[in-house]
């Protein structure tokens, strides 16, 4: 090892406190970056492998009832590879211990065993065999949530008859990675079951022998999804086809894709911001660290080291710090990633979800921080190396100072000498003060960004729970029913008020774009299911025309006043032109609303409803659920309290961990910034302060000069940090927004306060550490040497 390398290691040891702080800043940025990117990578790799291994279909379609011979016509559609027909059936389940009814989705599997598409992963047991009575394979999450094991029985109400189903297998399906029951927006593992049953038996129970009501298909490479979907629609139309759709619109996959997009924001945008901030700080800190070594640069040059060698020397110092930061960060990122992956397995049901870390991720993190640090170092080294060695070793000429603005306008007599020192120091080096303030305000800002999600998500839940959905219970019918059904429901025990709704599945087209969705018909004077704009003001429902979510409007490229084509996928399947009355900035899902009467007219039907929203007296009672369960016409019952609870649970478990990591690392970065700021100021001004000590100033008095400056910088940085925090949050939110959810932009005062408190706390702790160093200033040394 050469002498200069010894110097390197000793310099590093000498600045160990600062180096540690910088290492932690880099490590935090890298940890978030590595952890989140690895999680994303793992989720993608797992999903893609699962889809391909278990032959997840490319196109899906449902119809009322089509003879099996139709399947051959579907097979003949150009581009289609494999076609798998199935019988599916929504049923109510009786689960002991559950107050509200659970719903189940029964899906057939071929008599000869394995499905050709959408194959099942068998966790335990086996698939139901042909000719065996009432055997089912049960989806794993429902089995877990309700503690069903092999051999247990589930009671289902099929076609109005109670039937006992025996669990012979516990399985997972690529169609239910994200298991949502129809109409729900949050998975409810306790109340939504998917079961697979032998086709012959299911068809017999549901009078579907020789027929199917569900079909999926895989396509040959290069086949056009749009053409296949159009051909499927044509073929299935006479059989009550409800519109074919591609894999990307399949519910589980659509949610998964949107969630991935959201995770990507958390996992890429936020860490990138953090990494960027860490890099900026490194730049500032390294340039100041090198600046304090000006005499050493001169000495090295005097010995005959070239500028390049001197630059390399400091470059190596930075490289060591960056390398340590990357290693520590990668390690923490790994741990964090494994923890997050663990959490995601509760929501994304893959056979295995294994954490994997692609090698380029830590390398990229290191490159970003390394280049920022190198840039800051090089600038400082270049400045230091530009001086002739003799000049650099001589005591620096006193820097130029002047009266500050505050003094020039006559406030001088109220300022003590130390206060003047603080103000003049700041005014003389505005760039340095500016960089410190920017660093400190970024610390405040990232804390705010980290914590903002808590405010925003809980506001969103609150809006959904208390403002948008004001019903207690919602009821869906198996088939549209006349309005009399509403009166029947109104008279059920515990129901105070019932409001009808009509939901119609349709495909809306504008130009060459189209989306498949449900149009909601709601009464003009709705009390329970209001359409709200972003200011949470109720949106007046137009008497005619249709209201669309703005995201939907944007994806179709329509504006208010445009006419869209609505192809209804049920009933008499009318195709109508409807004027877009307005676009609504709503928060969740993609929705289309019409006044219920107007929708009924569009359907050319009478006063028909699909279900009702109920307001109950007190808590929704067991009696109410009991009587709803007993009605064969009722397909689904869901209580808002449960949905909101599920949403809250999902958010808490899934997002809050991410947020907690963000806040943790933001805190470390904030501390690193503040501490380094104080330490660098200390080394820059040690001599001046020691001189003052010799002159008889006390430790407290010189601490005031240094820490007062830091305090002033911190104080100025706080409001700037609030401002940056708001806009950074806004930018992150804009990128989080998806078709599933749009985040309301809210920041509570407490979040600003907490951000400020964290930074003030970091500043106070750094102040204490620096104060301890001030107390140990070597007074003798200062009389002898410069720097």
């Amino acid at each position: 090892m050469r002498a200069i390398h010894h110097k390197l290691l000793r310099d590093l040891w000498h600045m160990k406190g600062q180096a540690l702080a910088i290492v932690m800043v880099i490590a935090s940025g890298v940890a978030l970056f590595v952890g989140q990117l690895a999680v994303m990578h793992s989720l993608r790799v797992t999903r893609d492998a699962y889809y391909s291994e278990y032959r997840f279909a490319d196109v899906f379609a449902n119809c009322k009832r089509a003879p099996l011979s139709v399947a051959d016509r579907l097979r003949d559609v150009p581009g289609v590879d494999v076609v798998q027909t199935r019988v599916t059936l929504r049923v109510m389940l009786e689960v002991p211990g559950l107050n509200e009814p659970a719903t189940g989705q029964l899906i057939s599997i071929p008599d000869n065993g394995e499905p050709q598409l959408n194959d099942l992963f068998i966790r335990k047991g086996r698939l139901p065999g042909p000719g065996t009575d009432n055997e089912v394979a049960l989806v794993e999450m429902f089995a877990k949530a309700n503690k069903y094991g092999l051999g247990d029985s589930i009671t289902a109400i099929i076609n109005g008859r109670r039937q006992s189903l025996r669990v012979v297998g516990i399985v997972l399906s690529p169609e239910y990675v994200y298991a949502l029951s129809a109409g729900a927006f949050v998975p409810d593992d306790k109340r939504f079951a998917v079961m697979w049953m032998n086709e012959k038996q299911l068809a017999a129970a549901y009078n579907m022998e020789g027929a199917f009501n569900d079909v999926s298909a895989s396509l040959k490479p290069g086949a056009s999804h749009a053409e296949v979907i159009a051909r499927f629609d044509d073929i299935l139309k006479p059989y009550g086809g409800q519109g074919a759709f591609a894999q990307k619109d399949q519910v589980s996959n659509w949610y998964l894709a949107n969630e991935y997009k959201q995770l990507e924001t958390f996992g890429v945008v936020v860490p990138l911001i953090f990494l960027g901030i860490a890099a900026f700080l490194l730049n500032v800190v390294m340039s100041r660290v090198v600046a304090t070594q000006r005499d050493q640069v001169a000495a090295l040059k005097a010995f005959g080291y070239s500028n390049f060698q001197v630059g390399l020397h400091f470059g190596e110092l930075v490289a060591l710090i960056v390398l340590m930061g990357t290693i520590v960060g990668t390690l923490f990122g790994w741990l964090m990633g494994e923890k997050l992956i663990d959490l995601y397995t509760d929501f994304y049901h893959f056979p295995v979800l294994r954490f994997s870390l692609p090698g380029w991720v830590p390398l990229a993190g290191m490159a970003v921080t390394g280049s920022a640090a190198a840039l800051g170092t090089l600038n400082a080294v270049r400045r230091a190396a530009a001086l002739p060695p003799a000049e650099a070793m001589r005591p620096e000429a006193p820097p130029n100072y002047r009266m500050t603005l505050m003094e020039r306008i006559g406030l001088q007599r109220w300022l003590s000498q130390p206060t003047r020192m603080i103000l003049r120091q700041l005014e003389r080096k505005p760039m340095k003060a500016g960089a410190s303030i920017l660093g400190l305000s970024l610390a405040v800002a990232i804390l705010i960004v980290g914590m903002a999600f808590v405010d925003i998500i809980f506001t969103l839940i609150d809006i959904q729970a208390n403002v948008v959905h004001r019903e207690d219970v919602s009821v869906g019918f198996t088939e549209p029913r006349s309005r009399d059904a509403l009166h029947e429901i109104e008279s059920l025990p515990g129901v105070e008020y019932a409001e009808p709704y009509r939901a119609v599945s349709a495909r809306v087209r504008f130009g060459h774009r189209n989306r498949r969705l449900g149009i909601q018909g709601i009464p003009f004077d709705t009390r329970l299911n209001r359409v709200l704009n972003t200011d949470l003001e109720p949106f007046d429902l137009p008497r005619e025309g249709i209201l669309l979510s703005r995201v939907l409007g944007d994806s179709l490229h329509v504006s208010p006043g445009d006419e869209i084509i609505v192809e209804v996928m049920e009933g008499t399947r009318p195709t109508r032109t409807v004027k877009v009355a307005a676009l609504v900035d709503d928060f969740m899902g993609i929705s289309a609303y019409m006044e219920i009467g107007s929708l009924n007219r569009l359907m050319r039907e009478g006063d028909v409803i699909s279900g009702a929203y109920l307001l109950t007296r007190g808590e929704a009672s067991e009696a109410l659920f009991e009587s709803l369960r007993a009605r064969p016409a009722v397909a689904s019952v869901s209580s808002k309290a449960t949905s909101i609870e599920n949403l809250r649970k999902m958010v808490e478990e899934q997002l809050l961990y991410s947020i907690a990591f963000n806040v943790l690392f933001a805190g470390i970065i904030a501390f690193g910034i503040v501490y380094n700021n104080a330490r660098v100021s200390l080394s820059e001004r040690a001599r001046e302060l020691a001189s003052l000590r010799v002159l008889g100033l006390t430790r407290g008095e010189i601490s005031f000069i240094l820490l007062g400056e830091q305090a002033l910088l911190t104080l100025v940085a706080l409001p700037i940090g609030f401002f940056l925090g708001y806009w950074l949050t806004f930018a992150v939110m804009a990128s989080v927004n998806s078709e599933v959810v749009r985040m309301p932009m809210v920041l509570n005062t407490s979040t600003y306060a907490l951000g400020a408190i964290c930074v003030i706390f970091a500043a106070a702790v750094s102040g204490l550490i620096v104060r301890r160093r001030l107390d140990r200033l070597d007074l003798v040394e200062v009389l002898k040497t410069r720097e």
């Binding site: 005591p395 000429a397 100072y401 000498q417 003047r420 001046e688 001189s691 000590r693 010799v694 002159l695």
Partner: protein, 250 residues
């Protein structure tokens, strides 16, 4: 100055006056890793009220260490140092701060002015914490800088900066003025101006002044010259014929 006053000065140089500092058997050992460096090896020294003493010796002789111990910046390894009724050997950090604050004025080789404060403010920094200071303006007039009150250090020459440092040191009317190579960074012309300022303060305020230097020429302006070599006092000369700083040459 009248002849009678000059007489006073000579009387003060007499050994019968009260000792301000009494150092007995002070040794100072620095531990530099495994090696022990003996900076002082048993020094006995008394400094008297109002006298101007030059501590003369080559680099590494221990003169700075001695000055630092007298000034309360460093503590002796063994021996005792008394400043009037203060025991500096056993004083704690805050007592030493108090001591420096109220009794000692320091002048450094590299001036150590605060660059962000004007000449007047540099002096005020000290007068604001002193018990009975002169006004910063008077202190600066004393060193002939009455016309540079509002100049920042960057606007002053080296000699002027050092004179501001002298003014800063004397403005609190210290009883002792300790100067570590005050002309070390200056040429002869500006150095003499600084020495003149020191002599004037010593003469007019009666401040006990100790100057350390390796420049033998300066010894000629002292009442006593303490020669230090290898951590010991080699000899002490008493000047019967003090020179005025303007007569010095080096």
């Amino acid at each position: 100055m009248s002849e009678a006053e000059k007489e006073d000065v000579y009387v003060l140089a007499d050994d019968s006056r009260e000792a301000v500092f009494v150092a007995e058997g002070i040794t100072k050992v620095y531990k530099m890793g495994e090696v022990e460096v003996h900076a002082l090896r048993g020094v006995d020294l008394q400094l008297y009220e109002g006298e101007f003493v030059v501590l003369l010796g080559p680099s590494g002789s221990g003169k700075s260490t001695l000055l630092n111990i007298l000034g309360g910046l460093d503590v002796a390894t063994a021996g005792t140092v008394r400043y009037r009724d203060h025991d500096l050997t056993h004083a704690d950090e805050s007592a030493l701060t108090e001591y420096r604050r109220h009794h000692v004025g320091f002048i450094f080789q590299f001036y150590n002015l605060i660059p962000s404060l004007t000449a007047r403010e540099n002096v005020a920094l000290v007068t604001e914490i002193a018990d009975d200071p002169m006004s910063p303006d008077d202190a600066l007039k004393l060193v002939d800088l009455g016309d540079r009150l509002d100049h920042f250090p960057s606007q002053l020459s080296g000699g002027q900066q050092q004179r501001v440092a002298v003014a800063r040191a004397v403005a609190k009317r210290p009883e002792v003025l300790l100067c570590d190579e005050p002309t070390g960074a200056l040429d002869i012309h500006t150095g003499v101006k600084v020495l003149e300022a020191l002599a004037r303060v010593n003469r007019e305020l009666g401040t006990t002044t100790a100057v350390i230097t390796h420049n033998a020429a300066i010894a000629a302006m002292a009442d006593r010259v303490v020669h230090i070599a290898d951590g010991r006092i080699a000899k002490i000369d008493t000047n019967t014929n003090k020179k005025d700083p303007s007569e010095l040459e080096w």
